[in-house]
Point group: C2
Chain length 324, copies 2
Amino acid sequence: MKSISELQEIFNRYLAKQSFEKQPKELYEPFNYILSLGGKRMRPTMVLLGCEMFSHDAEKALPQSMAVELFHNFSLIHDDIMDNAPKRRGQSTVHEKYNSNSAILSGDSMLVYAYEYLIKNSGGSIEKLIQLFNKTAMEVCEGQQWDMNFENENAVSVSQYLKMIELKTAVLLGCAMKMGAIVGEANEEDAQRLYEVGKKLGIAFQLQDDILDSFGDEKKFGKQTGGDIIQNKKTLLLIEAMEKANPEQRNQLANWLEKKTFDPKEKVKAIMDLYYELNIRDVAETEMLKYYEDAMLTLDEIDIPEISKTGLRSFAKSLLDRES
Amino acid sequence: MKSISELQEIFNRYLAKQSFEKQPKELYEPFNYILSLGGKRMRPTMVLLGCEMFSHDAEKALPQSMAVELFHNFSLIHDDIMDNAPKRRGQSTVHEKYNSNSAILSGDSMLVYAYEYLIKNSGGSIEKLIQLFNKTAMEVCEGQQWDMNFENENAVSVSQYLKMIELKTAVLLGCAMKMGAIVGEANEEDAQRLYEVGKKLGIAFQLQDDILDSFGDEKKFGKQTGGDIIQNKKTLLLIEAMEKANPEQRNQLANWLEKKTFDPKEKVKAIMDLYYELNIRDVAETEMLKYYEDAMLTLDEIDIPEISKTGLRSFAKSLLDRES
């Protein structure tokens, strides 16, 4: 079994060999730009891992790992336009560096390229892979739309929030793992189990992101904490706080949410104080652990040797223990 | 052999049965909206025609005809954002009726749905269909990027312009015809010939559009003529006029192109006067007829009974003779 860092390395070597030096350069430069921004390459690594677990031949799934990375980057480019985000991984977003039109059109082409990689060397699995990918892509779009809708809604429930992050974030991780399993010739039941593992880990991963955005150590987190609080993002933390608050605390929260002008530091401190009073970190960590443990139980059911599961177990643990 | 209007009718009945009544409605309403705006349904009809020519069973290609129509509408939604266009077929564009974010995201989902229809009942042809579709989709994006680039360039040559419209418009018509041929089980050579026929007709079609935009009869054209002139669009007409103009005429043209404030009617009249002086309509019609005749020569080479070609011949002629 290859380790997670070996798989990451295999993907990065493959990525470095892909060329998008085509014309017109206005269309393809953003490909190279956003792919060069790095990131953890979590999704392509999960594709390779899924394949490795069933076949010990991760390389077979390299084109599909690239498909998932391209899809992820396409969605980042378009989401950043929609969210009006100036920065991504500490650098300018594509629409900031180039312009919105370039970002729309490069994103579109990147989605098409994802399909191009998806079918490479896919042999008899082509239809299964495309059906899984299509379903996932539609769900990711639906998740992004729900996320945008929630910005204008006052009452978002915990279950609505969990459904949104499942669609926007988690299904792509499930898809990545299952795609690897399909290329690695897992049987349908095990492939679907691995999908569930990936999806549950994806939800845990997003909840951990929410926790870190408020409770993270800025030095280790790599960016300013409190961003979600400043933007009134309806994360699990805020939703749970609203539900658990007594009338006075709810008033305080509501006042901060309504303020149009405020000192960001003051707002973050006030809301963090409420989070501490209400023990929100524990609530969120309990929820996150529930998904993590559920994922591990599903992993237990997969019919492969325990040794083939160790990579995923340590990967899952690293997602949880991370501080950035 | 079914007639063109029968094929259009078959497509419209199929389209009416497709449902996009899903949640979140902000994502799917624009699907229903833009598909309801109508249009000639030229591209899906070409898919059905391509299939009918080789199999006399056009219905087999209905999902693929829907894929092409969805792709076309996806590209209209995104192009309209990029071009800042308020109107499409006399109605509000998607980003005007909803907003830019909805238009970006609905367009993205529509592209994914195109792939979903593309693989329906595609049997052993799935890989061929996707490869053709991917190649075409990338070319269409490249064409749109060249078109945007040309807005900021002074010297666009005839051959650059022809290449741009080939990518932006014509390859999708070639793709539509070849997709039909593939589903209709044509051999590879004939399928490729039909691609060439569709592509050449696509170029002729776009040149006819350019001609109608300046020389069309407003009542029959259905919209104001002169739009391209007002916007300084570098169509074949303008490029040929710049090339054929004597120094004085070139000066007049250049002056009008540089003016930031002007009476639109006055500008259209002045440039049309130059087009008449330089016989530009003849030049453009000669170019268009060259592509049309070339398409018909390629059609001659396809190894099917002449009776199976009559539908396409009359369709091609109608594209040329149209006044709107």
